[in-house]
Every structure is written in structure tokens, then in C-alpha cells.
Symmetry: C2
Subunit: 364 residues, 2 copies
């Protein structure tokens, strides 16, 4: 797996091809290339056997770069051409966050499943519209929660939990520090109406991961906080956020997300997850094992009654989400992720953002 160490916006892991379909059996097109995650999404779908057909973005430079990476992609003349293509099963997209829903509604209206970068929404109204559209059309509105779906350490942790290695999960804690690298980021990234706030944005990974590891289907935001501690030039940037959630079945979650990844770290963020069970715990060092020799991610630590165990999960699990997603689209199943789960994670991150105590800025 190659990992870009500069910043998370260009995190686009490559895995071993594990095709679940033959060429041409599942066709997808890429629309809206505003966030670099579109590359990770495309890699995942291609490795799972998907066939890439069209690409469209209003910015020809973004299209050119995309085609340079994926020469098989054909530039569509317009979004309409892409959406109206009869062969395309799925539209994969990484629009500006606030525009993700509108694009998804159009894709579903055109009969396509929709696969968007996280966060999938910036408002609860968008979420309600998407829920309604799913009901109307039967199409999927799936989300690329990359910090679990595209991290082998996290996939392996899920398997270990399923196998009972740590008993019943009582708590999930997540740290999601990210390198800001502000000059490299587009303007919309610093406009709250567009990116949605830190708990909505990178917090969405954390909440999805919590629901997955705990097996919770419903939960409530118990507390959330945001701040801009040290970026006065970007007043609408939340450079810090944290959140506590309580699950309907009684498990708890806490996470912190921030834009303080130090320049001296050899990775774009020292992401961690700590999963506490009644019989043991798991720690995942997602992107780096700080100050250890190995560069690379997916360091999993399992402690239970049997002892302490370290597993380098790189290359161990692959990324089963993408193949499952393709099969879900073809067979109308929900093995990769249920629609309910994808939307619940989105709902909670919107609620966390909306009710957050703003520590450093007035008016809250």
C-alpha cells in the first residue's frame, strides 16, 4: 500500500486487486472531483473489478489529471451525458461537501446508485431529502468513510471483534488528527457553509467507525465541542472538535478530531482507535507507529486474557467494502453497509456539529 504522507486529502490507498465481477459487469463513472478522495474511491472500485467509464468535472484541469491517472476514463461533455449513460450503474463523486446531496439526488433520479465521499451532507435537510429519495427510487446513497473502509488495521479490528476477541464492546475512542497544509487546500475547505464544520467533516469517519465497532444502530450525541485555537487567518475553520456519544444499547463513544498534525510527523495524521471490550481491548495506530522504525500504517494491538499481541495488518485483509458494494448494487443487498448505517452516522455528525459548544468564538 502506498500512502501519501503530505496530507489526508490525497490519501488514496492502493490494494491488491480482488475483483468480484468481470470487466464490464459493473460500470461506474466519476463526477465532481473537488476532493482528492475521489482517487481512493476509484482505486477501491477498480480493484474490486469495477469498470470506469465517464469522468466529468466543470474544471477541465481536474478532468485531465484524472484521465492521466486512469487513462481508461472518457471525459463526458456534460454532467447530463454522464448521468444519462445507460451503462453506468453507479456515480462516484467527491463534490464540495455542501453540494454532495444535490448531486446524489440527481444521480438517483437518473436511476444510478450514488457513492459519495464523506461527509455526505452539511445539513439535516439534505439528509431528509436523501432519505426520501432512497425511499422513492430504491437507489443507494453510499458513503466513503475512508478512515475505516480504507484502513486494513480497522478492517482487521472489526473481524477480531466479530470473533469475540475482546468480549462485548463497551467503548470506542478515536483520534483523528490531520495535517492542514492550508496552502494546498481549496478555498471552500475553509468556508463553514461549504465544508460543514470539523465534526461534520472528519468527525463523520469517527462516528461511522463507532457505530460499526459497537454494533449500535442508534445513538445520541451527549456532548460536543469545537474551537479555532490557532488559525486566525481561517476564522471559519474549526481546528479542533470533540464529541461524546451514547449508544442505544449502552456503549459509549468519544472522539477528537483536529488540524494540528505536527510537521515533523512522517504521516499526515496519527489516527488512532481504541476499542474497549469486557474481555480485552484493541488499539489501532492507523497511519504510523510514532517514533518506531516502520513507516506505514495498520498497526493493531490486541490485549485480552491470552496476552498482548501485535499485528501488522498491512496486506492482511484488503478492502472488502468495495467488492461488497459492487455486489450490493448488482444484487440489491446490503452487505457492504446498510443505508440506515450510512445515514445514521451522517445524522449524528450533523447533530454533533449543530449542538457543539464553541470554545473560542463568540455568539455560542
Amino acid at each position: 500500500m502506498k500512502v501519501n504522507v503530505a496530507d489526508g486529502m490525497n490519501y488514496a490507498p492502493q490494494g491488491k486487486p480482488q475483483p468480484v465481477v468481470k470487466p464490464g459487469e459493473f460500470i461506474f463513472s466519476a463526477a465532481a472531483l473537488d476532493h482528492g478522495h475521489i482517487y481512493g474511491m476509484t482505486n477501491g472500485l477498480l480493484e474490486a473489478g469495477g469498470t470506469l467509464k465517464y469522468v466529468y468535472d466543470k474544471d477541465p484541469a481536474k478532468v485531465a489529471k484524472f484521465i492521466e491517472t486512469y487513462p481508461q476514463a472518457k471525459a463526458a461533455a456534460s454532467l447530463e451525458e454522464l448521468l444519462e449513460d445507460k451503462e453506468t450503474h453507479m456515480v462516484a463523486a467527491a463534490a464540495v461537501t455542501s453540494e454532495r446531496c444535490a448531486l446524489g439526488l440527481r444521480a438517483m433520479d437518473a436511476g444510478k446508485d450514488y457513492f459519495t465521499d464523506k461527509a455526505p451532507f452539511t445539513t439535516l435537510e439534505q439528509l431528509a431529502a436523501a432519505r426520501q429519495k432512497v425511499k422513492e427510487t430504491g437507489r443507494k446513497y453510499m458513503v466513503y468513510y475512508s478512515e475505516r473502509l480504507h484502513v486494513e488495521g480497522a478492517i482487521l479490528a472489526g473481524y477480531m471483534i466479530d470473533q469475540g476477541e475482546i468480549g462485548k464492546v463497551v467503548q470506542v475512542i478515536g483520534f483523528g488528527p490531520h495535517r492542514l497544509n492550508a496552502p494546498s487546500r481549496p478555498k471552500w475547505f475553509f468556508e463553514k457553509e461549504k465544508y460543514g464544520g470539523i465534526l461534520c467533516d472528519i468527525g463523520s469517519h469517527q462516528i461511522e467507525q463507532y457505530l460499526h465497532f459497537s454494533g449500535e444502530e442508534d445513538a445520541k450525541v451527549t456532548m460536543s465541542r469545537i474551537a479555532n485555537y490557532n488559525h486566525p487567518d481561517y476564522p471559519e475553520l474549526d481546528d479542533f472538535g470533540d464529541c461524546a456519544i451514547t449508544g442505544a444499547k449502552g456503549s459509549t463513544n468519544y472522539f477528537r478530531v483536529d488540524w494540528f498534525n505536527p510537521d515533523g510527523l512522517r504521516a499526515w495524521g496519527d489516527g488512532r482507535a481504541f476499542i474497549l471490550g469486557t474481555d480485552g481491548y484493541i488499539e489501532i495506530r492507523k497511519n504510523i507507529n510514532v517514533a518506531a522504525d516502520t513507516l506505514g500504517g495498520n498497526h493493531l494491538f490486541l490485549v485480552n486474557g491470552k496476552g498482548e499481541r501485535y499485528v501488522d495488518a498491512t496486506g492482511v485483509t484488503g478492502y472488502p467494502f468495495f467488492g461488497q458494494l459492487i455486489l450490493d448494487c448488482l444484487n440489491r443487498t446490503e452487505n457492504a453497509m446498510t443505508q440506515q448505517h450510512a445515514f445514521k452516522a451522517a445524522e449524528l455528525c450533523l447533530q454533533a456539529q449543530a449542538q457543539a459548544i464553541d470554545i473560542t468564538r463568540a455568539g455560542r
Copy 2:
């Protein structure tokens, strides 16, 4: 440093002697040996040059064991004899938590400084009485917050923060998992009225540490939760607690404490602290570096603009608190810890416990 790996109740580190006074210049006596921390407290005071005189407990077996460890100690015939001793400067004590304040008030009334195991109180009324008694008598009511004061990794972290290695501290996160080892613990340990609840008890370490690392003098509990997830035989035990605090200067704190340390871990608890600053962060693995070869604690990881750095802090700092405390008592200064700080940490842990959402038990 020798560390007992069975459980934290017997955590009594030994360090290098760093005496600040000559024999006989600072005399202390030990009263109430209910918690094993009295051994850590005694070690610390002896290594700093303190002279141990009397020991008293109503249980002769506890006294005998104490004298076996410290043959210089003389069994007092009664608590009165110990308290009335003219030579004794300080009474060190680790009573049942709910009885710590009453003993402290008596010690201060007898003209002694008081050094108690944490938590120092189980109710806000006790805290108010102690604050009043300090005012009346001018004596000290000091607290053995061992998970910072007796952990060289934590002492070193404090020094690094003071030196500006991570910029301004914006958040402190702490994990305080502990091995329960229930059969080894006295009955009072499972009675909430006596031990005070998990946030009061082992949560107090966490809050003290937060105030210290962040430099906050005042703060508010933003959210707290407790649960008994998996110990139905001990219904008054909180086997889980967590808490979020917001400091008056704007920093934040989150901590989790629990009694789920797995049997397979080679230490009594994988205690961690994560200190996030504007220019870097520090992680302390206090007691063990999981699944790594080294057995022992004080693993400090510093990441900032200069890079990633690992320091094995064992033997690096010693435990300056005890020498400073002795000199504070002799010189009536506050270099080891201010009275205000010791009481503020206690106040917050009592508030956190009192307002905690109880996730698993009825009536809240």
C-alpha cells in the same frame, strides 16, 4: 524502579534517594493503612529525606506489615499518641476514602500538615470543611495524585511542556484503565458511599493531571458518564467512567477510567496521556508499551516540528514532588503543589461524579 504488576492498589514505586533534608529535620508519621498507596507515599517521603516516626492503624496486622517494610517505624499505641507527637511535622494517611477528610481535620487541628492518598474527599461538604480548616489552621491538606506525581514519564512531559516543546496546550486526554483483581480488594472498595465512585476515585488522578499539564486553575465539568457494564456481583462498583472538562482559559480535557484491564496485560493498567499542543503533542505510555519487548513504564513520545522522538523516562527525572513537599512544609511555600490546585482537582472529580449520567443502572 520496581512496579508491582498485579494491581494498582500495590503500586509503590521506589526511586533514587534525592534527600532535601538531613535525618530528623522532617519527621512524618503514617496513620490509616487502608489503601496500599501508603507504601508509595512513604517511599517518596523517605527518598526525599523524610524521617518516619510513628505508624498507627486500628488493625494490628496492617501495622505489623508496615513495620516489616519500614523497621524504623514505631507502632503508636493510639491515633492520639501519633497526633500529639510534638516532633511529627506531617501525617501521611491512606484511610478509607470517605474517612480521609475527618482524619485530615484532626491532623490539622493537631498542628500537622496532612498528606492523604487520593481521592481526598467523597463529598463536597468534606471539601468545604477542609478548605475552612486550611484557612483556620494554615496547615496543608496535600494529596498523593500518584498517576502523575509518581510517574517519571508524566514528570518529564510536564518539563517538556514548560520548555515549549508542543506550544500552547489545547487538550489533555487520559486513559486510566485498572486491573480490578476483586478478591484482593477490601469490602469498602465496592461500597459507593465509602470509595466515592470511579470518577471521584481514579478519576481524580486524571483531573489533577489535566489541570497541571494545561496550566488551568479553574474549569467546568462539561459531561460525565458512569456505568457498571460487567460486574453484577458488585452493583455499587462503577466499572467505567468518563468525563469531559472545559478549562477557564479554553483548553479541554477528556478522560476515561475503567476496571477492565485484561488479565493478559503484563501491567496493572495501560495508562496513557495524550497532550495536544498548538505545535506538537506528547503521548505517555505510563506503565507499559503494549506488545513491545520492554517491560516497564515511562515511555514518552514527543512529536513536533522537529520530528518524532521517543524517550524512556525511567530514571530520568526522579520524583521531585516529595522533596518539594517536604520543603514546602518546612518553609510554608507551595512549590510542590498549591493548596488551590489540590482542592480544585478534588472539586471537579466530585462534581463529575455527582452529575454523571449512569448508563447501566436505573434511577438516573
